[in-house]
Amino acid sequence: MARRFLPWVLIPLLAVLILVPVGFMFLGAFMSGALADPEARLTLEKVAAVYTTLPYLRTLASTLAIALLVAGIATAGGVFMAWLSSRTDLPARPVMETCIIAPLFLSPFVGAIAWLVLGSPKAGLVNVLARAWFGATGPVVNVATPAGIVLIMALYYLPYAYLTVSAALRNMDPAMEEAAYLNGSGVLGTALKVTLPVVRPALISAFFFIFVLACGTFAIPAVLDRSSQVRFLAVDVFQASATYPIDYGTAAAIGTLLFWISVLGIAAYQFASRAARRFVTVTARGYRIRLVRLRLLRLPMVGLVGVYVLLAIVLPYLALAWSAFARPGGNVLAPVWTLANARGVLGSAEVAGATMNTLEVGLVTPTICVALGMLIAYAVRRLRVPGAKALDYITMFSIAVPGIVFGTGVFWTYVLTPAYGTIAVLILAFLASYLPFAYRIGDTALLQIDRALEEASSLCGAGHARTLARITLPLARPALLSAWIMVFIFSVREISAAVLLTSSDNVVLSVLSFNYLDYGDVPKAAIVGLLQTALLAAGVIAGRFVFRVRLARQV
């Protein structure tokens, strides 16, 4: 029964959720004005401008250049860290691993605010201190430059490469490397001639994944480069639809350009992941690989991980704390600490409202997302419903759609409906973005449940529903919980779609923080950023210690 009936519910639902917004964005790109405008007509003007004229092509080139650099640097760093943690005698490796992946659970947007506090050319803490202590004249660091943007993006995307590559290293048959040692290769020779080539597909897939993420990143360039000297497509989408002169058609047209880049990047990513799966050489033998002795390099390597953690977590949060709790306008070298500022911000009605909105989005989105993702996975993998392929494609399709592009599409779709400007519309946009994650985790969980466990249940007389409720779901519970926590984190820190869809009623913490920043009130932005981080940390801690979820394995 359910087999025949499910696709007729799921396919239209997914189409509305995922395909319709993308369709409306394309429609919007060909409109001369907003949908409500009676004068609006179809035109090629905007698309022609975006795809063929110089300012946009220059933005495209600089976006691609930045994204490629970010992907290259983050992948190289991730590979090296993965090799360190899985092939050497680095001390305290579990702690090191936790440190390396921790930035994944933080908000890159909040990190960007922190780096603005640290490294803006004039008032940045680092530059102020360098002037005071070392008598530096010009800025020592300047994050409002292409190099600054690239490095800070790489800082926050490095854990993705680390996870992908360390999974490949774990799955690699250690005998391959042992054979290289026995054939006379040294540590470096083995790493470069055997290890690296074997994990190369994983490395390439990490590269393209980060490339796509970087292309669609809005928060980091928008925050770091307030004067928009460095052109970036995602920032242009926002500016076209949020700053004067507002031009939703151009925003949509830039969105389509960004969409095509992502599609290409994801295609390359999937091609590489398929190759990576071919390279997986899982062996049943559980012996550990001989670890490379770092000897004298042990401490420097710990120091290297330490520097990463310092740059990605410690310095940024120190800077946020300074910004939040030091009396504004005071001496940097002798700050006067005060809670007044924080109290004022946290006690305000807009912060209370944004917190409630964030919690609402953060609780509703993962719940629906995980339930829907699991249902699709069950329909595709277990019930083998007719149209299973289509379900799979539509669900995975949104992986190729950056958040800001979805934001544009959802805007065009719902702008004339009463849903526009509500929290519901945010949830719709987030659901579409995060469904592939929940679906993939659910699918992997099903894949790992031996079918015989479910078959035994039906032979004991249980129907589909009872088998699902008593056997499948309880066995998939750990995976579902970690999917929930992941989507919770994504939803709480999301900014790019939220900032496009914002109204007075649905402001979430990230958008509020962004607005404060827009008025130039960095301390307020920092306080809201810290509050948002506290929510994220609560989610991670609940997942880790209450539900015993292993988050790192699920990304």
Binding site: E455, S458, C460
Partner: protein, 354 residues
């Protein structure tokens, strides 16, 4: 009245014919094995009986119910059969008691009766006192017992076994064979047992159905299967065999024949079926243990002798023909020895070419 009847069962995966017109019946209380190499269709056949796999065509009857017929299939939960899986499929999130009670709870049986029946079955499989343990805390052999208990507690009309012993180590596997058989005899359940292990099938079954490439190639008692193989495949798959292409010299009625092996050695033999003509090329099966040293027999030279403990396996050259013989170890044999051999006419079987 047969309890299970499978008629013209066909399972097709695209172009591959996994099960090709398989037909057989199993009588009430009978223990029948489906034996064959991997990929022969035996597991697919079993899963069709259970309802876990769809038949492309054919009919399956359990008792008086037609569970597969004319494109209609009764879902597995309504067939009244139960199965012991190769991987045991013990649910890791439930205790042993809950695992076994699952099928009874599905039938909404009163709790007191469930407790009584589960306790009884756990005692029967030797797991009393283990009810509160979890599946993951048990050894392979114990998980196996849980799986058996869970399958028999619902009193299925038909008990199915999918290579249940293949994941156990050798010693335990041998013990479990006898335990399973004793349990089946005690409960008197009609059973179908899938295995690729001929010794397992021999020990346990009333009847063995030998399958090859999706078809039934022989259906007989364990003794007949070994002593009177109907085909080259049956002779080669079950036990060791000297399979020799020979010439039929003369027939003496009663399916007694004289045959001449390559090299000129003449032997008396018999055939399982009629219709053999003199001067025909035939295939002869001689089991190695039936080649015995005896005075005044055929002479042969020892090419190689390997000592295996109770027996030694000896490669012989008899007038240019290579034979393998299993000879009791008390006779001392060395390479180069000349032996005199006796081969009983009962041990020489004419086999049809496949």
């Amino acid at each position: 009245m047969s309890e299970l009847s499978v008629r013209d069962l066909v399972v097709r995966y695209g172009d591959v014919l996994a099960v090709d017109r398989v037909s057989f019946t199993v009588a009430e209380g009978e223990f029948v094995s489906l034996l064959g190499p991997s990929g022969c269709g035996k597991t697919t056949t079993l899963r069709c009986i259970a309802g876990l796999e769809s038949a492309s065509s054919g009919e399956i009857r359990i008792g008086t119910d037609r569970v597969v017929a004319d494109g209609h299939e009764t879902p597995p939960e309504k067939r009244g059969v139960n199965m012991v899986f190769q991987s045991y499929a013990v649910w890791p999130h439930m205790s042993v008691f809950d695992n076994v009670a699952y099928g009874l709870r599905t039938r909404s049986m009163p709790a007191a009766e469930i407790t009584a029946r589960v306790t009884e079955v756990l005692r029967l499989v030797g797991l009393n006192g283990y009810g509160a343990r979890y599946g993951t805390e048990l050894s392979g052999g114990q998980q196996q017992r849980v799986a058996v208990a869970r399958a028999v507690v619902t009193e299925p009309r038909l008990l199915l076994f999918d290579e249940p012993l293949s994941n156990l180590d050798a010693g335990l596997r041998e013990r479990m064979r006898f335990e399973l058989l004793a349990l089946q005899r005690r409960l008197g359940r009609t059973s179908v047992y899938v295995t690729h292990d001929q010794a397992e099938a021999m020990v346990m079954s009333d009847r063995i159905i030998l399958m090859h490439q999706g078809r039934v190639v022989q259906e007989s008692s364990p003794r007949d299967l070994y002593e009177r193989p109907a085909s080259r495949f049956a002779a080669a798959f079950v036990g060791n065999a000297n399979l020799i292409e020979a010439e039929l010299v003369a027939s003496h009625g009663n399916d007694r024949h004289t045959i001449r092996l390559p090299g000129g050695l003449e032997l008396q033999g018999h055939a399982a079926s009629a219709g053999w003509q003199p001067a025909a090329r035939v295939l002869v099966c001689i089991r190695p243990e039936n080649i015995e040293p005896a005075p005044n027999g055929h002479s042969a030279t020892v090419v190689r002798a390997s000592y295996l403990g109770p027996i030694q396996t000896v490669e012989l050259d008899a007038a240019g023909l290579t034979l393998r013989a299993d000879i009791a170890s008390r006779t001392k044999i060395a390479q180069g020895d000349r032996l005199s051999l006796h081969i009983s006419p009962e041990a020489v079987v004419l086999v049809a070419e496949d």
